[in-house]
């Protein structure tokens, strides 16, 4: 690994360590009410570095435990969107013709619906959602951009000469996509995933804050923020520490995405193959489709 990756990796490593080793580091059980009379809403001290909340729970323990939940939710739902988005893109490209066109239009429509609105509507209709239901909800509303990216990339790759050469050798559609074209998409997908995790951590914090995400008493960064919402001026530690944790995690994931992008873009082998036609950085953003060398369709 190049040196360029190291700062981002240090951040991510720190994040993972803290969250994985959370139960060992945290002095108390996250939901334990320590002493409802004397340890209620205590400011940070040596015994409780992040203070305690209104029902005398240790905030440090809750931030560590909540981090596990927030990150797990983000990673699982982003993985789900990656799988669904990639499959959708692959099926659309393989099918070709009218099916491809229809699936692309459907994607355009899906992308035009504000995601937060859908999440709020579902939250309003179903109320409290379990953790798996949240993973499904966030994962299944987050794959449209990935699917768009995959269809566009596959379409562009399929028009390149090595794809035509593979077909000239008798390679059939699914094999062409999987063995010959997918390896080119891997860097793009890894980068998309790290930005996706960053976005989803922030999204979970927002949803839980609104009461639509993780449900009490389970801690998550969003639910701790919610606990501190009304008392931000007097009991500032309830908002500050989960807020800082969220910002740190989002920054770490974004830094990782940026580092990976720098790592892959300039000397990634693909840029050699497409440099004649493609824009300088093919591995572009997370949501916008990158500049494409051609709009020819793959007909495997």
């Amino acid at each position: 690994m190049s040196r360029r990756l190291s700062p981002a990796f240090v951040l991510i490593a720190l994040l993972v360590c803290v969250v994985v080793a959370g139960p060992l580091l945290s002095p108390y059980a996250p939901n334990a009410q320590l002493d409802i009379i004397t340890l209620r809403s205590q400011a940070p001290s040596l015994a409780h570095p992040f203070g305690t909340d209104a029902v005398s729970r240790d905030v440090l323990s809750r931030v560590l435990d909540g981090g596990r939940v927030s990150l797990a939710l983000a990673i699982l739902s982003v993985s789900l969107s990656l799988v669904v988005g990639t499959l959708y893109g692959a099926i659309s490209t393989l099918a070709g013709g009218v099916i491809d066109t229809t699936m692309r239009r459907a994607l355009d429509i899906a992308l035009s619906i504000p995601r937060l609105l859908v999440l709020l509507a579902v939250g309003a209709l179903w109320g409290a959602l379990s953790f798996p239901a949240l993973v499904l909800l966030i994962g299944l509303t987050g794959w449209f951009a990935t699917a768009r990216l995959v269809t566009d990339e596959l379409r562009a790759l399929g028009a390149l000469e090595f794809a035509i050469a593979a077909r000239a050798m008798g390679v059939r559609g699914p094999r062409l996509l999987w063995r010959h074209l997918m390896p080119h998409l891997l860097p793009t997908l890894v980068i998309t995933a790290s930005f996706g995790v960053a976005g989803t951590i922030a999204l979970e914090a927002g949803l839980s804050y609104l009461g639509l995400g993780i449900q009490a008493p389970q801690a998550s960064w969003g639910t701790i923020l919610r606990d501190g919402a009304g008392v931000a001026q007097s009991e500032w530690w309830l908002s500050l520490f989960p807020g800082l944790a969220t910002v740190f995690a989002v920054l770490a994931c974004n830094a990782l995405g940026d580092a990976l992008r720098k790592q892959f873009a300039p000397n990634h082998v693909l840029s050699v193959a497409t440099s004649r036609a493609a824009a300088p950085t093919r591995v572009a953003g997370t949501t916008s489709s990158p500049a494409l060398p051609s709009s020819r369709t793959v007909r495997p």
């Binding site: 090595f162 035509i164 000239a168 050798m169 008798g170 063995r179 082998v269 693909l270």
Partner: protein, 348 residues
């Protein structure tokens, strides 16, 4: 009964291996269609070596791709075209059988090996892929045959080279890899689309030598696409000259070089610099191939032809027999006296 009878007659050994008839390839251009390939017909016999010659943009490469039904969309092979390969009608074949033919019985060598090889797969993996697609050999055997094929195309230390990626090889070696991919299934026909254009001159000679050598060993037929008449002289027994999507002349190599009938062929031959001839400027054919959307009336070459006369503007010449295996598409064949009046061609 009748079906098997038809099949027998088409696969009979006296039938050509490849029979292209009235091939038309069109691209939509606004409300119109551009006919990039406009009704060409030719044959390649078993074991024969045929060259398709013409300038850039005359439809050579498109013709090559169409033989494997790989014309890039929105290009389309028009109704009425026919491509019969080894008894199979390529244009009506189902996908399964078409894939069977691709790479196994008819293979293609591309012009630019750097872009035609997949940068994320090792070259050995890419050659082995052809075996994986068409055979049920074991892993071990697939790899042995891959390395063996690499050695056959003249790559030293083939075992180690097979594990390298395309960017780790030189241009000449990459083209050898392409040739190995094309030949590993011992196809009956190999189409080589300008296989030496991207290479420097000494490597060009080596690659042509290799192709000639492999052809002699395997007895495959070769359809070589080139714009270089020097290559033609070395490689082919028969030449087909294309101009603006049409065949303008077809002859045996010796006859074509000795007595070209079409002014375009004449121009191409005159453009080859000759040893010992002291010329200040190289001969060129004025102008360039007209776009398929803006073809002139009558003969498509008349704007660039030093002999053009009135009839050329009004009537498109037919492909007429000149000798036993020599055909050309020019009014001069019927009116040879016109050859006396040569005029300058205005460069547009």
């Amino acid at each position: 009964m009748t079906i098997s009878a038809t099949r027998d007659s088409t696969t009979a050994p006296d039938r050509p291996l490849l029979d292209v008839h009235a091939l038309q390839i069109a691209f939509p251009a606004g409300h119109d269609v551009a006919r990039a390939v406009n009704g060409i017909s030719f044959t390649v016999a078993r074991g024969e070596s045929v060259c398709l010659v013409g300038e850039s943009g005359c439809g050579k490469s498109l013709t090559a791709l169409s033989l494997l039904r790989l014309v890039p969309p929105p290009g389309r092979i028009e109704a009425g075209s026919q491509i019969v390969f080894d008894g199979a009608d390529i244009l009506t074949l189902d996908d399964e059988r078409l894939r069977d033919i691709r790479g196994q019985h008819m293979a293609m060598i591309f012009q630019e090996p750097m872009t035609a090889l997949n940068p994320v797969l090792t070259v050995g993996d890419q050659i082995a892929e052809v075996l994986r697609v068409h055979t049920t050999l074991s892993r071990q055997e697939t790899w042995t045959r891959t390395v063996d094929m690499l050695a056959q195309v003249g790559i030293a230390d083939a075992g180690a080279r097979a594990k390298q990626y395309p960017h780790e090889l030189s241009g000449g070696m990459r083209q050898r890899v392409m040739i190995a991919m094309a030949l590993i299934m011992s196809p009956k026909l190999v189409i080589a689309d300008e296989p030496t254009t991207a290479l420097d001159v000494t490597i060009q000679a080596q690659i042509l030598e290799l192709l000639r050598d492999l052809r002699a060993r395997t007895g495959m037929a070769l359809l070589l696409i080139t714009h270089d008449l020097g290559v033609v002289a070395e490689m082919a027994s028969r030449v087909i000259v294309m101009y603006a999507g049409r065949v303008v002349e077809e002859a045996n190599v010796a006859e074509l070089f000795a007595a070209p009938s079409h002014p375009y062929t004449e121009g191409l031959l005159a453009a080859i610099p000759k040893l010992g001839q002291d010329t200040e400027r190289l001969h060129t054919i004025a102008g360039s191939v007209p776009l398929p959307t803006a073809l002139p009336s009558g003969c498509t070459f008349r704007d660039r032809c030093p002999y053009a006369f009135e009839r050329c503007a009004t009537e498109e010449p037919a492909l007429v027999q000149v000798g036993s295996a020599h055909r050309a598409r020019c009014h001069l064949i019927e009116e040879p006296a016109r050859r006396a009046t040569r005029h300058a061609v205005a460069t547009p």
